[in-house]
Symmetry: C2
Subunit: 440 residues, 2 copies
Amino acid sequence: MSDTLFESVDIARLSTEAADFETRLDALLAWEGVSDANVQARVEEIISAVKARGDAALIEFSNRFDRLTAASMSELTLDAGRLEQAFRGLSEEQRDALAQAAERIRLYHERQKPTSWSYTEADGSVLGQQVTPLDRAGIYVPGGKAAYPSSVLMNAIPAHVAGVREIVMVVPTPDGVLNELVLAAAHLAGVDRVFTIGGAQAIAAMAYGTASVPRVDKIVGPGNIYVATAKRAVFGQVGIDMIAGPSEILVVSDGGTDPEWLAMDLFSQAEHDEDAQALLVSWDESHLAEVEAAIARLLPTLERHEIVRQSLARRGALILCRDRDEAVTLINRIAPEHLELSMADPEALLPQVRHAGAIFMGRYTAEALGDYCAGPNHVLPTSGTARFSSPLGVYDFQKRSSIIHCSESGASTLGRVASVLARGESLTAHARSAEYRIKD
Amino acid sequence: MSDTLFESVDIARLSTEAADFETRLDALLAWEGVSDANVQARVEEIISAVKARGDAALIEFSNRFDRLTAASMSELTLDAGRLEQAFRGLSEEQRDALAQAAERIRLYHERQKPTSWSYTEADGSVLGQQVTPLDRAGIYVPGGKAAYPSSVLMNAIPAHVAGVREIVMVVPTPDGVLNELVLAAAHLAGVDRVFTIGGAQAIAAMAYGTASVPRVDKIVGPGNIYVATAKRAVFGQVGIDMIAGPSEILVVSDGGTDPEWLAMDLFSQAEHDEDAQALLVSWDESHLAEVEAAIARLLPTLERHEIVRQSLARRGALILCRDRDEAVTLINRIAPEHLELSMADPEALLPQVRHAGAIFMGRYTAEALGDYCAGPNHVLPTSGTARFSSPLGVYDFQKRSSIIHCSESGASTLGRVASVLARGESLTAHARSAEYRIKD
C-alpha cells in the first residue's frame, strides 16, 4: 500500500508476507495491565482500612478521592425511588431506547438459563446437578467520563435473569456529579440499591461488607487500575469477572463493504480511549487502501478525533493477508474481543472461528449495534482472553451443586471401587467409610 | 452434651441456642489463605526468571527445589508411552478400579456438555451462542504425599470431554520419586504430555510457555501456597480454577444413621490434613453424644489418627440445632464444599439448599464414594466459595462466543436505538457507525 496520498493517517500497515510480521503483530497485541508495587500497596492499605473501620473508612476515602463532604453513609446511598425518578426524568426518546435495549438484552439472556438435571442408574442411584443463583451480586460502574448506562444494563440484567436475590451497584460521583442515564439504566435493569462510592474502597466494601454496604457474593464490572487491583486482591473472598484490558476489534473484510462504513466501525472502537485497538484484515489490497483513504477523510469529522488519532497510531493496523484461510488463522491467533466478519458469507467462516468474544456477522452488523441493543452482552473477554473466557452471562450469576444419591445396592458396588482407590492413596478412613456401605 | 465419658476426644461442641454461637461458628469457619509478602516476592522472582530464561530456569528451580540433577528438559518430560506403561504395570484390581472410576466420571461429565444455539427474529436477524473448547489445558498435580490419582481423573476427564485439543500435566517429583498410580490415571484420563516440574515455576511455564513447555489457556489443579500464589499472579494471562482452601464437610444427620458410619465419614474428611474441617449438625442431642462416643472409640484405630485428632480439635465441631429448618439455615450460611444429608428424606430438604459444592444424599452416600467414583467431580469450591462457584466441570474447559447477524432491516431498526444510546454516552463514532446501517 502506498501511503503518500494519506500521509495524515498514522496507522500501521502490516502484511503477513513481511519477514517481520510476527514480531510486529506481537508488539501490537502486547498488553499487560500490570499494577506496580505502589498501586498494590495503596490498594492493600485501602482494603485493610475498610475491613477494619467499615463505613467510616468508606466515607473518608470517598470524601478524599471524589472531593465530597459526606458526613454519613446515607448521603452516599440511593434507594430504588431515586433510580425510578431518574428514569422518569429522561426524554421520551432516551427512555424508549433504553427500554428497548433492556428488553432485547433480557430476551437474549433468558436463552442462557440452564436447567438442573438428574438421571437414575439401573441400581436406583441418582446423579445430577442443581443450578442455583447467587444470593447477592455487586456491580461496579465507573464514574466520570466513562459512566455508561449501557454497561449498567449489560451487567445487571444477566444477574436479574439468573434470579439473584439482591443486586447492589456502586458508582463513584467525582465532585458529586451523578449521571441520570446511569441511574435510569439501574432502575430498568433491576438494581436494588446504589451506593455512590468507587475505587478500591467500594470493592473492599462489597467483598467484606460494612454496616451499610452488604457483603456480596460476586463483583462484576470494569474500573481503573485501582479497581482492577482490588478485584484481584479480593478474588476468592468473593467471585469476580475477568479483569478487563482495553477494548479491541478485529474486522475482517472481503472487500465488498463500503470503506466508509468500515472506517467508522474502526473509529467506534478507537474512540473509547487511547489504548483501544482497531484492526482491519483483508486479502484485498486495493480495498485496504480505500479504507485507509476513508479513515483519512473521515477522521477530522469526529468529535473524539484526538483520541481516535492516538489509538489508531499506537495500536491500530491495516493487515494484508493472503486469503480467507490466513484470515481465519489470524482470528484464532488474536482471539479478539469483537470480531466483525464484514463479508458476503460469514456463515461459511463461522465454524472455523475458535476464539472470539462476540462475532458480528455480515456487512450490516456494526459492532455498535451489539454494544447497545442487539441482545448479547457487551462485557467481553479482552486481550486474547477469549482463548479461555466467555462474554458475561447468566452463568456468571449462578452456580451448580453436584447431587449424588446412592441406593443401598449402588453404594455397595461403588464402595468396592472407592475402597481400592482410597487405599491406593493411603486414605484409609475414606476406604473404611466406603466399606461400611458394602453389603456382604 | 456431657463430655466426661469421652474426655479423650477434643472436638468443639456447639449449640445454636448458646449466646456465643455465632462468634464461635465464625471463628471455626475463618480461613484466609494469605500469602505473606515473602512468598509473594519469591513467587514473582520465579515467574520473572521463567519468563526470561525459560527451560534453563525451569531446570535450575526443579534441581534446587526437588533435589534433582536434570541436565535438560527431556529428563523432565514423560511421553504418552510412559503413561501407558504405568497403567499396564498396575495390579489388575487397581487397574479395574481406576478404569471404572474413569468411565463413571466420563459418563457424568458428558451430561454437562452444552450445545451451541441460535434463533432467528421476525426481521431475519440471527442471535446465538457458539460453544468451543479451549485449545490447551494445563493440569497441576501435587507431588509427594498429596499425589492423588483420583485428582488426575477429576481434573483431566472434564477437559477431555470438553474437547480440549491438548492436555498437559505437571507433577513435581521430589527426590525423583514418581507415583505410578498418578501416571496411570493420566493415561486413562487422556493426558497428552507430562512434565515432572512443580511449584511456581511450573505455573509460570504453563502460563507463558517455554521452548519445551507449551503455553496453555487455563491452569487447573490444587497446590501449596507457592502454587496458589503463582496461579493468582498469572490469572488473566491464562484462566485458572478457584484457589482452593482446606477441604471440608458438613454432615447433617436426622439421628437415624449408624453413629460409627458418621464418625468415619467425619474422619475421612479430617484425615486429609490438619486444616481440614469436619462438622456434624443434628437436632438430636443424644445422637450427637453417640457419634461423639463412636469418634472416641474409633479414633485410635485410624492409620492417620494423629492428623485426624489435630484437625478435629482445631476445626471440627458437633453442632446441636433446634430443628431441620435451622439445619438448612446453617447449611446456607456455611455453604460447605461437601454436604452430607444423612437422613431418611433428603429430597425434602434439597430444594432449600442454596449453597453447597456437592450434596451427598441419604445414609448410603458416603462422601468417599463421590471422592472417587460416583461420577461428579471432587474438585469443589471450599471455604464458603460455593456461594458463587461450582464444581470443576466441562464448562471450565469451554467458552462461549456471542453471535449477532443483523438483517438489513434488523440493522436499520437497531441502528436507531443504538444511535440514541451512543449519543447519550457521547460516543458519536458508535452512533455514526450504527446510522450508516439505517435505511431512509
